[in-house]
Amino acid sequence: MDRWTRYAGVLSPIVAVAAAFLVGGLVVTAIGESPFRVYAILFRGAFGSVDGFGLVLFNACPLIFTGLAVAFAFRAGLFNIGGEGQLYIGSFLCAWAGLGLAGVPWWIAVPVLIAVSAVGGALWASVPGMLKARFGVHEVINTIMMNFIAIGLTSYLVINIFKEPAQMTPQTAEIASGHLPRLAGALQAVGIPMPSANPLNASILIALAAVWVAWFILYRTTFGYEVRAVGLNQDAAESAGINVRRTIVLAMITSGAFAGLVATNEVMGFRHRFLDNFSSGIGFMGIAVALLGKNTPLGVLFAALLFGVLNAGALEVDVFTDVPRELILVLQAVTIILVVVGNEIFVRRIAAREARAALADTQAEEAA
């Protein structure tokens, strides 16, 4: 294999992102703004201050979880579109459990709530997993349906049963224990001037750990080996004695657990309660993140950070320019499209290059 082919996996998303910025620049120009100014503001918003960068990480955090969820399932050959539903269930159960933890010390409450979040997501994902394994029903349809059920169910529960008394907002009361600390305090202590209002919290550390865990499971455990074998060649896996159905269910469960962990940021770290409809598409963004990250744990981390940058910068762009923040959505969508298309073109280009190079070799040989 030639050098280019090896790096194609890394290069193609980068080229696609660059191209997306180019397209975004054209849109900005059409609106009558200077693309240089807008991008300068965007990056200033993201990187110009500790506060801004804290927002980048805060925005990236849930996307890391949902991106990992999609990527992990994908490794088993499954398309988990259900991250949204899984994170709602994980978050709701997390808040519900948190409400009952009055008087429990944080060092018990935190691990318990992390576990509950993961288990909630895992449970929800296990249903389409089992339907797929048992009856061969396609997981795409079932995960989507499970999203509707989760959103509707949590909405009903929070409005009708668990609503914070004497409040208009459809949200639960604050969890009694198991808050994750914001990082501002710790950062200030080591001399980094993070404003205390910055929402970045310890969940980002859990997200980083999750990236490592996903990698470890996939590439360093027997289960991960079996997951990849099933994803790459189900018939060969079956012949080798791997229980394909069981592996599918377990992969779905693991995937759902990653999605459920969104609760550590949203419930334990940020709001300290379950807010109806809080997600607005984090689960779906996970699909884009996984796609951009080429379904590898490290790729997911970088893709989530990029999306974090765009989201954090969008705020500034909105405030300081005439460009609507929707431009950022356009930019994100264009990036995804270009990654998909670009990858295809890139791979073909390389194949053609190799063929030409090889032919030149032959001709040189002939001439000699």
Partner: protein, 527 residues
């Protein structure tokens, strides 16, 4: 022999991304001869023929047909110049008749109406002239594979071909069908047509061809008269070294029964029985060969034994333990190794590395797994050892299986399955698409496995393979075992008869009928 050249190809070079498929190939085919092109899989035979037929433009080189250069590389131009190609995969419409298929795309018309009578007549004339024995009104779906192939040939002749290309035509035929095909080809030669015939079966070359062009790794390594060469010489030109064409086996010393299959039946997808009341016994130190035309239940038998398919009735036991309808893992863990018939589909994970593929099936056991963790060091050591022992190339455990040649992919599977010292080895088409050199290796390994005390179930479409390796031979036809023989008590001709269901009443024959000299071997579909 006339001295005009029907085909002249000069300096044909064709490069694919990873391989130089044709490297300055010259080919001269004289008018009115049967010219064989032989070579291992991947030698570039099909590529050369595709260039000739205009399906693939060469990077360099020239094609002349009957003296005239082929300017544009398009099938239409090649056809106009009198070239016809009988494809490996038939392109017939099942629900139309023979005559309708032949005229398809080139219908004789009277006004705007297809002249069906004229079509039938043409088919009948052609059929009679060369001994095709085709009924123009028969539906394709009622024809055997051998007859379908004849329809393909008639189609090509109908379009006026003077030069016929047949790419591995014997791969799908029984020995009898091969003989009849050869008769037809000889008749076509008599009528002055030129035939280019691709194969990797050396017996066929010696029997049928006038001249032979040998290819290896995209180059021509020899041009010889068939009458003045031997299989050994051809094999040497094909492989580049001396090869043992037929391994010799010692008398076996069978022990206790290892595998016992009794009354096994299985239902197919449409509710038809794909296996009917099959009984088999294999003892340790014994090879049972299962012969049969593909699709007569061999695949299903193997899948049931290895746990990949459910039996509807009957019993399978391994060393006395009932393994009927148990999981593949359970059966594997009891000591059953399996070389699947389709290595890319079932035997390998192409995107896995050599090291990963070499533990497939044992990834959950010591020493490759401890407390759920993969032991990468052990996997790599294991890979290094097997690569060394089996001369796998490239010798790098991190190479993905997709980047291995077919022969090396098969070696990888063989290395893996033999390494777990199985009680029963189930080998399905273990040398399909494998180079002659690697065939020698697989055969020797199989026999050493047997001599080490394993029971071996060998399923193969290659009669010569079955005959060389088996201590006992069972013939399958329509899901049932129709005959069993002692390994050396039967000839290919007789096996061939049983394979087509024509040997009924002669099963359990003791005396070996005289071997027909130069009996054609049944082959496989090539690439």
């Amino acid at each position: 022999m006339p001295e005009t050249n029907a085909i002249e190809m000069r300096g044909i070079t064709k490069r694919y991304p990873r391989v130089l498929a044709n490297d300055r190939v010259d080919l001269d085919v004289r008018e009115g001869e049967i010219h064989a092109i032989v070579g291992e899989n991947g030698a570039g035979k099909s590529t050369l023929m595709k260039v000739l037929y205009g399906l693939v433009p060469p990077d360099a080189g020239e094609v002349r047909l009957e003296g005239k250069p082929l300017v544009r590389h398009r099938p239409a131009d090649a056809i106009r110049a009198g070239v016809g190609m009988v494809h490996q995969h038939f392109m017939l419409v099942d629900t139309l008749t023979v005559a309708e298929n032949v005229i398809l795309g080139e219908e004789p018309t009277r006004g705007v109406v297809i002249d069906a009578a004229a079509a039938r007549e043409r088919v009948e004339t052609l059929s009679g002239e060369y001994g095709f024995e085709l009924d123009p009104d028969e539906l394709i779906e009622n024809l055997s594979v051998g007859l379908e192939q004849r329809v393909e040939i008639v189609k090509v002749l109908y379009r006026g071909a003077r030069i016929l290309i047949l790419d591995e035509p014997t791969g799908v035929l029984t020995p009898q069908e091969v003989r009849e095909l050869f008769g037809i080809l000889r008749a076509l030669r008599e009528s002055g047509r030129t035939i280019v015939f691709i194969t990797h079966k050396l017996d066929e070359v010696i029997e049928l061809a006038d001249r032979v062009t040998v290819m290896r790794d995209g180059r021509v390594t020899g041009i010889v008269d068939a009458a003045q060469t031997t299989k050994e010489e051809l094999a040497k030109m094909m492989v580049g070294r001396y090869v043992l064409l037929r391994v010799t086996k010692e008398e076996g010393s069978p022990g206790d029964t290892v595998l016992s299959v009794s009354g096994l039946s299985a239902a197919g997808r449409k509710g038809t029985e794909v296996l009917r009341d099959v009984d088999i016994e294999i003892r340790s130190g014994e090879v049972l060969g299962v012969a049969g035309v593909q699709g007569n239940g061999q695949t299903e038998l193997v899948e049931i034994i290895t746990g990949l398919r459910r039996a509807s009735s009957g019993r399978v036991t391994l060393n006395g333990a009932d393994i009927t309808n148990r999981s593949p893992r359970h059966i594997r863990d009891l000591g059953v190794a399996h070389i699947p018939e389709d290595r890319q589909a079932r035997g390998l994970v192409l995107d896995f590395t050599i090291a990963e593929n070499l533990v497939l099936g044992r990834q959950h056991r010591e020493p490759f797994s401890r407390l759920g963790r993969l032991c990468l060091d052990e996997m790599n050591d294991h890979a290094a050892r097997l690569i060394e022992e089996h001369d796998l190339r490239p010798a790098d455990p991190a190479t993905e299986a997709a980047n291995l040649s077919g022969g090396n992919q098969q070696k990888l599977i063989v290395a893996r399955e033999f390494d777990c010292e199985p009680a029963l080895l189930v080998a399905s088409q273990p040398t399909r698409g494998v180079d002659i050199g690697a065939v020698e290796f697989v055969h020797t390994s199989l026999l050493s496995m047997r001599d080490a005390g394993a029971a071996v179930l060998l399923v193969s479409a290659e009669l010569s393979e079955i005959m060389t390796l088996s201590d006992r031979i069972a013939v399958m036809y329509r899901g049932a075992i129709v005959a069993t023989f002692d390994g050396d008590a039967v000839g290919e001709e007789e096996l061939g008869l049983h394979m087509t269901g024509a040997g009924a009443g002669r099963s359990e024959s003791q005396a070996a009928p005289p071997r027909a000299a130069g009996a054609p071997q049944r082959g496989r579909a090539g690439s």
